[in-house]
Symmetry: C2
Subunit: 68 residues, 2 copies
């Protein structure tokens, strides 16, 4: 089990949170996604190591930006 | 044909605009809904006079507030 936290910018409301949660949740191996809208912190739990690029791609697909 | 502009508060992103547009668009007689996210102005075109209460109800249903 692996847990990593990322910072996503541009989310402004619950719909944004839903979009990001949904896109990241579709990555193979992801078991849980927790988003804190006020900080932009997105914590992803998965059963394998995810690459930064996989996360970045999902966040971009949802219409937001990975901060780093 | 009737056109009225309302101010809706609480919209922060395109998803919010979609929600408000969709709910107001479901009111009987509504033909067009234009939302300006930056000002909160919502312009509704309809083939009959709409009551303030009809608009308020749709905006509330979408999860936002009618300013006046």
């Amino acid at each position: 089990m692996s847990e990593s936290t990322y910072i996503v910018t541009g989310m402004t409301c619950g719909h944004c949170v839903s979009s990001v949660t949904e896109e990241i949740g579709e990555i193979n191996g992801v078991q849980d996604v927790q988003v804190d809208l006020s900080t932009g912190n997105v914590t992803v739990t998965s059963d394998r190591e995810l690459t930064h690029e996989e996360i970045r791609s999902a966040v971009t697909e949802a219409g937001y930006q990975l901060a780093s």
